[in-house]
Amino acid sequence: MDKFVNPKSKKSKPIAPIHLVALIDLVIFGLLSIRSGIFVPIILALGTIKAVMTYLTTIVLRKYRMGDTYISLIVAMLLSMGLSMQLRLSTEIGVKQFIWFLIGMGLFIVTASTYHLVYKRIKSIWFFYALMIILFILTQIIGTSINGAKNWIILGKLSFQPSEFIKILFVFFMASFVSDPEALRLKIADKMTSPKWTLMVMVFIVLGFFVLQREFGTALLIFIIYLSILYVFEKAVVFVGINAIIAGLAAFVAVQVMPHLKIRMDSWLNPFADIAGKGYQITQSLFAIGSGSFFGTGLGLGYPHFIPNVETDFIFSAICEEMGIFGGIAIIVLFMLLVYRGIKVCLLLRDPFTKSLAFGLTITIGFQTFLIIGGVTRVIPLTGITLPFVSYGGSSLVSSFIILGLLQSLSGFILRKEVFEVEEIDN
């Protein structure tokens, strides 16, 4: 049994890393607050709050034995880099992001401490599917176009991107399928359908909605999650292959007929051919990464503003410019660690629903990170999704914190429950 679920273990004292995170916070935010030559107390105050929050979270998690204390520490470090970069780009945006960070932390604690009370009741596959479809339709009806794609819902002062939450619902949907595939054995025209094929049709409908809203990145991400979960939990290698071929053909046709997708492919294959137009974003990103070299220009000494959308999609390029690719590699390694902790939880869980839920949430973070970092470095085509915990955006940050809260809950109360239940049966 892993030490973080053993209440008697006294070895799990994450003392050194947490001091390190707090120290980094105070140094980075302290330096940022005097960057312009005039002391800006608010930035230092935010840094202090951030450090205190990190301590508080760890203390609460330990005190109530809420599971893995490293998960939130890894994220705290990601947030140190993300928040400081946002504050450096613009104090206004940085402060907004900080407020979202506080809201996210609140949701994280709420999710982590309550989800275990309800998880057994909420696992109806049709419930999650209906929620997704409702969100899609709502977006189509009351949604607003930003940058040419209708994928925002704006309610008064509050705007959010439904796809960030549909992503989480999709993982629940898949986990429900794993725990009870028979729910999808439908009777159509006096014949019983195969659950897998029913699932496939339902998933392709979801993909269709994403493509309709030009959320190609999220579509690709949930498709990868879908295939991975089928592969791991259904052992359906041939079926995964069929899905991949169909999706591949569909993507090929889509690139031919949808100019928006074709532009993305062209700007990936040859960004320098139309550097003033289609290739502008990606080449500016490459210039930024290149000018940062290994150690970076130093925070505040580069020109990240030359990249369009730097605070959202291209935040990784800005980090590479000013903190060097060593800063960028630090981000990648932190995500590797985060995925590692998530996979560890997932390996320990036994119930198919919780196990596939933990797996789905973990790989969501993993693949999303790869898709966006690979996109801005031109390893793969740019898909325009956010870097979890680092990119600017309320929806992205909040949904990432909800994923984190769910993982925390799975690593703590739920894992312990499962272990004890099995022990009771064993006795």
């Binding site: 991975s228 592969y231 791991v232 939990f233 052992k235 320098f272 550097i275 003033a276 502008y280 080449t283 500016q284 490459l286 210039f287 930024a288 990464i289 290149g290 000018s291 070299s293 290994f294 580069g302 020109y303 030359f306 590479c320 690719i325 960028g328 590699i329 990648i332 390694v333 995500f335 590797m336 995925v339 590692y340 996979i343 997932c346 390996l347 036994r350 196990k355 797996f359 790989i363 993993g366 693949f367 990170t369 790869f370 970092i373 690979g374 470095t377 390893v379």
Partner: protein
């Protein structure tokens, strides 16, 4: 059993994710080391411009501290100013927001912007002290008064002058004409004339102008002949000679009678040297020419064209033409100056250079260019014999007008046929190469003036003499 397979598959996906992350890390490292190199200089990389705007570009000085290029910041807009306007156009080049950078401004861009390690250290200090970021300065080997004198003597002619310290390889003066005013406002005003002008004013002739060397090449021929033991060769000069059906004659069809090598050099007898070609092995001459730097890329602070000789010469007439400096031969003025400097420096050609030092904003010297050998033209004994012949050229021969009172000057004149003149459409080029004082050379020089009625001895020699005199007088006053 079933459960362990699920966990195995979970681990497989975990490994896939880790491989993807590792590939990103490897790609990023590759990109920084190799991948970014061809793209970073792209015009759309606004960082280069932004970086330049935030930095005071380094100054350029002559060897005595005279300011040749400086950057002034007026109302936040930096402006490159060349106080001597056209005088250094073909050495320093220009640094323009519109037309880019050329010559030293381009080659030493990183140094002038402080973008190398030395600059970073200096600018880290300036950040602490709250000063403007400043690039590093260049101190050239050029002597401003000599450069000005050379330019003045060149007048309105087209051509080039290269003066060099034969013992060190320092370029003392380098003039190419026609030239232009490299200041931004002037460039903008005259750009269409400059870029399309018939006389190519943007072309640094001293470095990339390829000319037939004419009789100045006889210096290389004599080196080759002496090395193979032909220094006692004697020929009867009757004014012309027929070699394999082609007639070679002296300038003005003069006949000099019986000549040895020294007198043949002094009179620049084409007949003598054409006859010499019949006993000289073409491979020996080509080998000497290549030792003199032909057919080789020159390692220099600025881009140069490669001087060339045919690497195989089979035809007798072609070889006779090559021996007297015509034929398939092309040289840059810089290359001729180097050959001349090689004779002056006991057969050793020093690597030419323009940038003597790099200094920082407090005028502290950061780096000093070390002198080094570029190649060995010949042995000291042969060089000494050729030097004596060249002294004779100035004392009693075609180069009399290069002489300086109380100083022994060595030299060789040349009058080179070129594409236009051989078709009767224009005049020959006037050449002179030389060095002084012959006993302990301080300056070696090559002068070429394009398409002149007068020959090298009449026109190029006096210019070379005056420049050498100016330099020697200046050194003696010290």
């Amino acid at each position: 059993m079933k459960k362990s397979t699920t966990n195995n598959r979970i681990l497989q996906i975990f490994i896939v994710i880790n491989i993807l992350f590792l590939s990103l890390i490897i790609y990023l490292s590759y990109f920084e080391l190799y991948g970014k190199e061809p793209i970073m200089a792209n015009n759309y990389n606004r960082r280069l411009k932004a970086y330049e705007d935030g930095i005071v570009r380094g100054q350029i000085f002559d060897r005595n501290g005279e300011v040749l290029a400086e950057t002034k910041i007026v109302d936040g807009i930096s402006n490159r100013n060349y106080p001597y306007k056209r005088l250094y156009a073909h050495i320093i080049g220009y640094n323009s927001n519109i037309y880019g950078k050329t010559l030293l401004e381009a080659r030493y861009n990183d140094t002038l912007l402080g973008k190398n390690a030395l600059g970073f250290v200096g600018n880290a200090m300036s950040l602490v002290k709250g000063e403007d970021k400043t690039g590093n300065n260049l101190i050239l080997t050029i002597d401003h008064s000599l450069q000005a004198k050379a330019r003045e003597l060149m007048g309105d002619n087209r051509g080039a002058i290269v003066a060099i310290n034969p013992k060190t390889g320092e370029i003392l003066a380098m003039v190419s004409t026609p030239d232009y005013n490299p200041n931004e406002s002037s460039l903008r005003e005259n750009w269409s004339d400059l870029s399309t002008g018939e006389n190519s004013p943007l072309l640094p002739r001293a470095l990339i102008g390829l000319y037939p060397p004419g009789s100045t090449f006889k210096v290389v021929t004599t080196v080759s002949a002496i090395e193979v033991g032909l220094d006692d060769f004697i020929a009867e000069d009757t004014g012309s000679v027929v070699i394999d059906g082609k007639t070679f004659s002296n300038a003005g069809d003069k006949a000099y009678g019986e000549l040895n090598m020294t007198s043949a050099m002094a009179y620049s007898s084409n007949v003598y040297f054409s006859k010499l070609s019949e006993v000289l092995d073409s491979k020996a001459l080509i080998s000497t020419a290549e030792k003199a730097g032909l057919n080789k890329n020159l390692d220099f602070d600025l881009p140069t064209k490669k001087s060339s000789i045919n690497s195989v010469i089979d035809s007798k007439t072609e070889f006779a033409a090559t021996v007297i400096g015509q034929g398939e031969l092309l040289v840059t003025p810089l290359q001729m100056a180097l050959i001349c400097a090689g004779i002056a420096n006991d057969g050793v050609i020093m690597k030419p250079y323009l940038v003597k030092n790099v200094s920082d904003r407090y005028d502290t010297i950061l780096t000093t260019t070390l002198t080094k050998e570029s190649g060995v033209l010949t042995d000291p004994e042969t060089a000494e014999i050729v030097k004596e012949m060249m002294i004779e050229v100035v004392k009693n021969g075609t180069g009399k007008r290069a002489s300086i009172s109380e100083v022994i000057v060595a030299g060789k004149t040349g009058t080179a046929q070129n594409e236009k003149s051989s078709q009767g459409q224009g005049n020959d080029h006037a050449w002179f190469i030389g060095f002084a004082p012959a006993s302990d050379p301080e300056i070696a020089i090559a002068v070429i003036i394009e398409n002149q009625e007068k020959d090298g001895g009449q026109l190029a020699a006096p210019i070379a003499g005056k420049i050498m005199a100016e330099w020697i007088n200046k050194n003696n006053k010290k």
